[in-house]
Each structure stands twice: as C-alpha cells, then as structure tokens.
C-alpha cells in the first residue's frame, strides 16, 4: 500500500480491527488500541462510526453489532468479516520474505511452526519456493548468537580492515543483526569504552570470559540503566565520526556500480560526464583499498593530502608483484 490516502488507510485499519473482533468477539479497548497502533480515543471513534455502517435499509438489525464502553469492545459481526483478506503484491512479498529470512537464520527449525505457517501461506499465494533468501553463515555466527542469548561476556579476536590490525578485545555482546547481506555483532567494547558494531565474518576467535552481561531492554537500552544503547538494525553500519575527513572523488561510469554500494554523503554530476561523490574517510587503509578497486576510473579531487593516495597504494602493491613470491 504505497499511497496512504487518509480515508483508504483508515478503512484498511478499520477492516483489520473488525476482522480481529469478528474472531475474538470481545477485547479490552487498551489491548485492541495497542495492537493496531491507535490511541484508545481514535479506536473508539472508528468503532462508533463502524457501528453506523451496514446494509440498506440501515435499520438497527442491518448495522454492525458493536458495543463500546471505556473498558471493552463487544462485537457480533458474523463469519464473513472474520475471513482473511487478499494480500496486495507488496504485502504478500513482505510476509513471505520475512518468514523466509527467519528460516534462513542458521539454527532455525526447518519443520517448526514458522515453516508450517509459511507452507500454508505459500499454498494460498501460489508461491512454492520461488523466493529464496541466503543470509550466509560466517564461522563464529552460532557462538556469537549463543553468547548474546546467554548474556555471556566474550573475548573477541577481530580483524579490523580500517586499521588493518588483528586485536583481542573484551566485548559485552548485545545483539546479532544481519544488514544488507552481512552479519554484525553489536556490543559494548571494553577496549574502546563504547558501543561497537563488528562484522561477524571478520571475527577470528570467540572465548567466554565467564562473566555475564545485562540483557538490553526492548528499546535497546541496557536494563541496568546505563547509557549504552544497542543501535537499531537499520542504523548505518558506518557512521562517520567527528574526526572523519570528507574526500571528494570523481568517478566515471565504469566505476559507478562500486560506488553505489558505499555509504556516500552526497553525489553530483560533473560537466565532463563523471560523477563526484563525497565520502567520509575515517580510515586511510579503507580509502586506499577503495581507490585500488576504482583504479584508473577514479580521481581524488579533495583534500590535497589524499590526492596521491591511490597512486601510492598502487605503487606499494606493485612492489609486491614485482618482488616475486
């Protein structure tokens, strides 16, 4: 439902409330409002309106039988309204994708209630395995998920591409998320003294320290009231820090595909047909490697101290190729 014309959206929501009521018969106002993301007043207004709807001649016996007081809604709506309604293409896609994504998480029971529910859904939608999701399974994923679930503090061996270093750090694991095809561990890093997001495919080792950590609450805040908050899954995996340098790089069309996938700050066309992108450079190692991949299709326009980065990185790597192996 991309266009939410106000009345259309209200009707969609009202029909959903009526479907639920037709099945349940009665429900507390507060619970019903909560389930549908409404205030109790909005809910009561919609239901009072619905109680005036029905079929001609709109005599009381032809209106919907809904009684509302401050505490509870009681309804007798008949079987038709209780039936599931047809899904739009976007809704069918979203529901099957969500279920398939959960199934793709390593360790999900392939014969569990989700699989059974999905099979019923796909039978009705005519899907049958025409949508496949692969979330990958880096080596330490299972250990990290288990540690997160158990609230077990860990010592993490980690390769950081931005510093090109291996490190050992004590981490309180708080959440394991998958974002744009990669798994990440969100946790409090004792070495950094702050929240960090780690790529699971760069984890080299996981060892329990024997200590436990408090579970984060539903909003991501730590339950002990401390200031650390687990980021939401959709929050950018890379957030430029205050000390990041902003580089402006001109790329031609042949390299645009690579740039598409980067978290760029802005993107503008140049008169010569190239595109200039703004990138936050927190790590020169990362930037050098990006420039190697862009190769002769990119030119750093700014700042001056980074203009030779790509050339120098290429010379260093050429030395390896020329030095024999």
């Amino acid at each position: 439902m991309p266009q939410r014309a106000e009345a259309g959206y209200r009707l969609h929501r009202l029909l959903a409330v009526l479907t639920w009521l037709a099945r349940q018969g009665r429900a507390p106002v507060s619970e019903l409002a909560d389930r549908f993301g409404l205030s109790p007043d909005e809910l009561i207004a919609d239901l009072e309106l619905a109680a005036c709807c029905g079929l001609p001649p709109y005599t009381p016996d032809q209106l919907m039988e809904i009684m509302v007081d401050d505490e509870e809604v009681v309804a007798n709506l008949g079987p038709e309204l209780a039936r599931p309604r047809r899904l739009t293409a976007a809704e069918g896609f979203a529901l099957v994708t969500a279920a398939r994504a959960i199934e793709a998480v390593p360790g999900t029971d392939p014969d569990g209630s989700l699989a059974r529910g999905l099979e019923k859904l796909e039978t009705v939608l005519g899907d049958r395995g025409r949508l496949r999701i692969d979330l990958g399974e880096p080596p330490f994923l299972a250990e990290l998920r288990q540690a997160t679930e158990d609230g077990a503090q860990i010592e993490l061996g980690y390769y950081s591409a931005s510093s090109d270093e291996e490190s050992l750090r004590v981490v309180d694991p708080l959440n394991v998320v998958t974002l744009d095809g990669r798994w990440y561990l969100d946790g409090y890093c004792h070495r950094a003294g702050d929240m960090r997001r780690f790529r699971v495919d760069r984890v080299l080792s996981v060892t329990a320290t024997g200590k436990t950590v408090p579970h984060p609450g539903p909003d991501g805040a730590a339950e002990d009231g401390s200031e650390h908050r687990t980021p939401d899954v959709g929050e950018a995996a890379f957030v430029p820090g205050p000390d990041a340098t902003v580089a402006r790089v001109a790329v031609d069309d042949a390299a645009l595909w690579l740039v598409d996938a980067l978290p760029h700050l802005d993107i503008d066309p140049l008169p010569d047909g190239r595109t200039v992108i703004g990138l936050a450079v927190a790590s020169t190692v990362w930037f050098d490697r990006l420039l190697l991949r862009l190769g002769p299709h990119a030119e750093v326009l700014d700042p001056p101290e980074l203009m030779a980065s790509g050339r120098q990185a290429a010379l260093r790597l050429l030395a390896r190729y020329q030095g024999g192996h």
Binding site: G8, P84, L95, A98, E166, V177, D232, L292
Partner: protein
C-alpha cells in the same frame, strides 16, 4: 454529512453482499453519502474506487443490461483469501517474523492486518534486507509465471522469471532469457525503469532449466567470459577469513607461514580483481599469467594516475 470512511465502509459491505454487478444509480441509492446526481456523483465514486484500489480492494466494472450499461462489484475472490487455518503457534511465528525483519515499509504489518493477525509491539528487528520498489512486481510475475520485460545495462530483456533470490546484500532475479535462450541472473537494483509483466502463465521455460543451478555463488562467477582458474595467494593474517568465505575445497596450498593459495573459477575477471584488491597488500594473483598481467596493468594505470580508460 456522512464521513467518507463511513461511505467507504458501506460501499464495501454493499458491493460484497451482492455477487451481481450493480449500476452506480443503484449503488448511490443504497450507500449514503453520494452527491445526488450526475458528474459529481460519478467523480465521487471514481475517487472511492481509487482509494479502495490503493488499499488493495479491487472494484470490478462489468457490462450489464439497462440504460447505464456498466455495473460494479467486488469479486469475493478478489477480496478474500481461502482460509489459511493457521494454528496459534503458526500465527505467532509469522508475527515474530514480520517484527524481526525490517523491509523499509509497513507492508508486512499490513499483511498481518489483512489476515487478521495483528502483531503486538516489543520485538526488535534483527534483519534489514534492503527491499526495492520493483520486488513486489517481480514477485507477482514469478508467482504467476508471467514474462517480464525490462531495460538492463542498455538492453531490452525479455525473461521468463523462475526465482527471486537475496544473497550477499543484493536481490537477484533468476530466469530464462527468451531472446538469448539461456539462463541469466539479473541484479534487481540495476534494472532501469519499471518492469512490464505479461499475462499469468505466459512464461514458459524449457524442462531442462534449473534456476538453482543458474545462480552463480560468487561475484567473480557472475559473468559470461570463458572460465579461467585463478590462483590467489592470501597472507596468513587474512587466510582463515578468506578460506571461510570461499570454502576449504578451493585451497590448493598451505604454506609454512600460514598463507594459503586458493584456486577460484572465474568468469568475471573485473569482479575478481575488485575482490582481491579489497584484501589490500595481503593478497596477490599468482596466475594464470593473463590475469596476473591484467592486474599489474591495472595497478600501473592506477599508479600513473591517468584517468583514461586505459584498462578494461
């Protein structure tokens, strides 16, 4: 003055009750709130139709006898799904799935509403799958075995789609290219403009077509070049991560210092180059000479700082 929501609700109930198409005159007599006559009434009804369609409720126009010639109805098959008979634990599992997977719009929640399974709040999403606007259209085409026509890298493509697939952060459509008569994989985010979908059942693929086999696993296998086996040396520090990514079976050699040589089957050398360069100075293409030479040329062009398209 009748609230528009009330008029829409009555309209749905009235059109659902009768399985025969009804002329607008009759509808307006039964549903309170329409203007009395003529063009204003027609416009109000057309607006309601659009609003309902945007909300997934389809009103069908159908020829009838009589002066108005056109009647309207909501077909039960357009409005209802067959009952799913979901058990409570299956409902709960679908609820959790929608809450746990972020797709960038509320379509999943809307789906639960339409099925009568409203989710309760309180679950944090753990997955974000970068949904694209084209996906529902393509999903419909795949489900209904309908052909898809779209622009891709400057070419018009006609494809019998077989599978939608998410992998490595990208959505792909796997299908049988009807012009090239071969299986092809397309990145959905690189399709230009809107895809045109044919009639249900219009997509016919040969029996021998296997969509699972059509999708190459790695980026360097997503090409149409002649396959070449490329050996890549990876230093000890990154060796375990790279082996985990490309698989034990690719390891040709383990050196005393912990470095490994992996052998990769490549049909897209540019993608391989990009992957190797992401490993910085910790990896090196050993051979064959053609691929190693191309890598050296690429690096020389980069080192020269020319922005001419000297390589590729």
């Amino acid at each position: 003055m009748v609230d528009r929501l009330e008029r829409l609700t009555d309209l749905v109930l009235v059109l659902l009750r009768d399985e025969r198409p009804k002329p607008l005159r009759e509808i307006a007599a039964e549903v309170p709130g329409y203007p009395a006559e003529g063009e204003a009434r027609r416009q109000a009804f057309e607006r309601d139709k659009r609003t309902l369609r945007a909300g997934g409720v389809e009103i069908t126009a159908s020829p009838i006898d009589g002066p108005e010639q056109v009647g309207y109805l909501i077909r039960p098959d357009d409005f209802y799904l067959p009952d799913l008979d979901l058990t409570p634990d299956e409902q709960a599992a679908l609820n959790l799935a929608v809450a746990g997977v972020h797709l960038g719009d509320p379509s999943g929640r809307d789906a639960l509403w339409r099925l009568g399974l409203p989710a309760s709040a309180g679950v944090r999403p753990f997955a974000d799958l970068a949904a694209l606007p084209a996906l529902p259209v393509l999903y419909d085409a795949v489900r209904h075995r309908a052909t898809v026509t779209f622009d891709y890298r400057g070419d018009r493509r006609h494809v019998a789609p077989a599978l939608l697939r998410f992998r490595g952060g990208w959505w792909y459509m796997v299908g049988f290219d009807l012009d090239k008569e071969a299986s092809r994989t397309f990145r959905v985010d690189r399709m230009d403009g809107e895809a045109t979908v044919g009639e249900p059942g219009s997509a016919v693929v040969p029996d021998s077509f296997d969509p699972a086999a059509a999708h190459p696993e790695e980026t360097w296998r997503m090409g149409e070049e002649e396959a070449v086996s490329v050996d890549v040396l990876v230093d000890a520090g990154l060796a375990p991560l790279v082996v985990a990514e490309v698989g034990q079976s690719t390891v040709r050699q383990r050196r005393d210092d912990g470095a490994v040589v992996v052998r990769l089957e490549v049909t897209n050398v540019a993608m391989l180059r990009s992957w190797v360069l992401e490993l910085g100075e910790h990896a090196e293409v050993l051979g064959p000479e053609s691929v190693r030479g191309a890598m050296v040329s690429w690096l020389e062009a980069t080192a020269a700082g020319t922005t001419e398209r000297a390589v590729d």
